[in-house]
């Protein structure tokens, strides 16, 4: 396990994502409703770039004619076949027990703390004044 600096806080606007390669894996880092999430950029169904998909709400229904919207912008919909995954857990909506996409722990830390190490920052020169988004892989 190692921690990687993937973005400066403020770099990924709310509702946006950044797709990048970390330790040979393509991952997507999402900024949604003030929180950060990271998932492997590969749909377990047919291998599409899952993290290029739309962030949508969860729609469910107790009976025909009724529907409820919840979990705003917390479901990631694959750009190919529309399979939806919970960005908090990586679980698929259709088959949560069997189908899931790998998720990674994301933390935000001040540059001053990071200066003590250890972390991996190949593209960032960390400064003590800024805050950073880190992904643990």
């Amino acid at each position: 396990m190692s921690r990687h600096v993937v973005a400066r806080v403020g770099e990924i606007a709310p509702g946006q994502r950044k797709i990048l390669e970390v330790s040979g894996r393509r991952i997507g880092v999402f900024h949604s409703n003030g929180e950060y999430f990271a998932l492997l950029d590969r749909c377990p169904h047919q291998g599409a770039s899952l993290c290029s998909g739309m962030l949508v709400s969860l729609v469910d229904s107790s009976e025909p004619g009724e529907y409820r919207m919840s979990r705003q912008a917390e479901m990631l919909r694959c750009p190919w076949h529309g399979w939806e995954f919970d960005i908090r857990t990586g679980q698929s909506w259709c088959d949560p027990a069997k189908v899931r996409v790998k998720t990674y722990l994301v933390t935000v830390e001040p540059g001053a703390e990071l200066a003590k190490g250890p972390y991996v920052a190949t593209t960032y020169s960390v400064t003590v004044e800024d805050d950073y988004v880190l992904v643990e892989i």
């Binding site: 169904h45 047919q46 291998g47 599409a48 770039s49 290029s52 998909g53 739309m54 750009p79 190919w80 076949h81 529309g82």
Partner: protein, 374 residues
Amino acid sequence: MSTHSVVSSEPEGSRSKPVGSGVVDCDIHPAASSPTEVAQYLPERWRKHVSTFGVRLPNQPTINIVPYPRMAPGHGMRMDSWPPNGGAPASDLGFMREQLLDACNIEFGILQPLSGGSMTTNQELGSAFCNAMNEWQLEKWTRKDKRLKGAICVAQEDADSAVATIERYAKNRDFVHIAIPTRTMEPFGRKRYWPIFEAAERWNLPICMHAPATGYHCNTPSGWASYYIEEHIAFSHPPQTIVTSMILEGVFERFTRLRIVLVEGGFAWVPPLAWRLDKQWQIMRDEVPHVKRPPSGYLREHFWFTTQPVEESERPSDLLDTIRWIGSDRLMFSTDYPHWDFDDPSRAFKIELSREDRKAILRDNAVALFRLNE
């Protein structure tokens, strides 16, 4: 040193992809870059007509768009399929090469242009539109990339014009099949369509019947369904009518070399339909004395099926059984690019196919059927 050395005369790079290792994609939907791109191939008389009156497709609740709203944005396109240089998905050959032909190792790609000409109520216009689609395929696609093979689009409801179109294009091997949509005006075994079968047999061209969003009838026998998910399910109904009608009308007794490909209509329904046909034929064959053999025999000999979207059975072994019942020599891989329900050749089958079956389905069956090695 011999100058006839085969190994040393091989061009660089050919060893990394030996001949026969590629994939044949039987369902690619090429698109126009602008609404008038295909119309420019129409004769002046019809160009004028289209600009004055427009084009009306039959049995659509709306004009010129698909009847059901699909995945937005883009009406059911793969979300990553818009070319970076602009235009609609699958309208740019360069991006199609990058995203599909090269990325998926496609050795040959069979175009399924879903020509509106086959479904235009003004049948003279429909026929002119089919000819325009054929010219457009040549100029925009098949002459520019030899991997791509075209469809002779025909206005099947006017069989004479359809035959004239086939005669005009069949000699050109850039065309490897005749395209007809599945929701025809009458069940497809009827005699009004037989001149088309005769021409198809004469030129040794299979007829590919693709499930379209439009057609001469509603998408279910009871009328229009409510949801897109129902429309998608209904794609597998007309192919069953085609199989039943063609066999029971005796088409294959007359046209013994005719070959039909059912595209994007699913395939898991095939074995139970064959069982049902055979059972009823045993009891009622006096009604159709021209049907001389059990219907499943005709089905087995004359029909091929494309795979996308591959049915995903709960138990993988059930799908293997289904493939065994149909025959792995009768299934042909397809992606449906650039539509949202695209199948990737390396990931589409969630079952362990044998090496032979895999090669047959992904490549060899289509190479043989469409005569791609000629």
